[in-house]
Amino acid sequence: MIGDYTFGEFTSILAMQGFAGLILFSVFVLMALGLAIIFGQMGVINMAHGEFMILGAYVTYICSHIVTEYVPGLFPVYFFIAMALAFVAAFALGVLVEWGMIRFLYRRPLDTLLATWGLSLILQQVYRSVFGAREVGVTLPDWMMGSIALTDMIEIPINGLFVMALTLIVSFAVYFILFRSAWGKQVRAVLQNRVMAGAVGINTKRVDALTFGLGCGIAGIAGSAFTMIGSTGPTAGQLYIVDTFLVVVFGGAGSLIGTIASAFTISQAQSTMEFFMSGSMAKVLTLLTVVGILMLRPQGLFTLNIRR
């Protein structure tokens, strides 16, 4: 199949597919960052993570409607507002869920998994009741719509660039919050030794709630970004949850760099293969490879050898 293309065409295809992969990569990273915080730092399995993402997407959708209806002048920049609101909404719901459910289940990870799955079912039905079963899309401002032509064969869509820039900013912010701020130090202290952290005056309950909220909030941002590349339906989040978990586990839970690297590997592998075979087979092959590698190296790619 490769023989049908000239070398120039072939590299262009690779570049275009690579770029398509980069957008997928961005959504993966945003999703996975949130999950990496919740799973990697807190050890909680949040199966409703996809629904938090979709919450962000719906918030963006609502914003786009309200802005076009009432304040069309703001339309070119509404996306930034929507994104902030998406974060706030998902963050608030996250804190609420932590307070109402997760905090009772910290020592029972498998049960958390089941309970959050239940939560995801409820959220899906809420979305369906409120927004209908049909998928919805948002209208993007004009400046985001075009694309930049690099060569006459390679075009880069602006919204893709935007999503990537956003991912970069969020990743740095997360890194800064977790590893450079006093609060991040508290989060890691609570993770390593809850009793001692409490004893030295850290409000562990507050840290738990905020950490969980932060993870969910980032999922909300992911949802906002997601609206640019796909349409939003009540069950769209469920399609991403397994992939996202694999990204986090594959990268080695607890390692942010690992999460990003593994999101990159998986999304690139998938979008490159998608050009040569059907989408479903590309996905099967990608997932199979990941699962296969995880079976050989269960600790993931970037985990340090620690003293047991």
Partner: protein, 380 residues
Amino acid sequence: MQSPMHSDSTFFSRQGWLSFVVLAAILLLVLPAAFDIFRLNLIGKYLTYAFVALGLVLCWGMGGILSLGQGIFFGLGGYCMAMFLKLEASTPEATKIQSTPGIPDFMDWNQLTELPVWWQPFHSFGFTLVAIIAVPALFAFVIGAAMFKRRVGGVYFAIITQAVAAIMTILIIGQQGYTGGVNGITDLRTLLGWDIRTDDAKLILYFVCAALLLGCVLLAQAINISKFGRLLVAMRDREDRVRFSGYDVSNFKIFIFCLAAAFSAIGGAMFTLQVGFMSPSFVGIVPSIEMVIFCAVGGRLSLFGAVYGALIVNAAKTSFSESFPELWLFAMGGLFIAVVMAFPNGLAGLYREHAEPWLRRLLKRSVARPAVAAAANTAN
């Protein structure tokens, strides 16, 4: 002094036998007497999930291994049976309007011109029966060996099995020329010339299903009360102690995972026979995790609870989706949360805490009314 704990309980305790007899009476007498064949066929379908729940009690409740991929094995068993039935239904005469007569219709629609090699052995009923158990068990063995030998367990195991379930669904849907795709393998008619769509056949299949289930309950209970059963619980709570008492922990986990897979596969095969088709919608992430809830509602530590849990949740699902379809997801979601947070030992736990003491008082007061006990026991 020789206490009852002390002497080896060769098989069931008295109470175990009683629960078993009650279950058998419900499945073989009460339900067939109370419902028409349409409803009984539905109950038979629910019972196929009880096989899965039974396996999950052993694997998850006792052994602490949560598999979110039991749908894989349910599906593999069901597909093996469906392949056999489909081949029987696709005689050259029955399919003479196809461009290639003699192959399943969906293959013809997908421009296949001959039967794939791996379909060939499913012409044989004997092979099919073996494959229903062996294929899923072998698959479980591969997954289990890869994971447990490397000490992967807990949430990692759950996530990996879930991913495998996802892969399986995508694969089945994507390869529709070989698998029937998203519609699955449909339009199954006869088993060795015997029409499985008639009411009589459905009645017989119900009894076959119930009998097989009771057999699996006995087998599971035998394992439960053997030293293996005690080791499973010991491994769940103190894995290192078991390991340093000279046991190869991974082998025990692999065995119980394979057994749970085999149970699920029997359920899947019975599902195909009673419902008349098999499709990827019983394989993927969502059905697999629903199977866990059947087990959790019944009580993750109770074999009998698992059967009742599968029956009750599925019956509720049917009646909900008939009358308030939009409420079903709320109810299901609420069930997941409630069973984890409010009653982790499920119905069996509720029975043991509330119904049993009450029952005992009742029995003390009137020893001469054993019928009451049996009736109340059905609430378990």
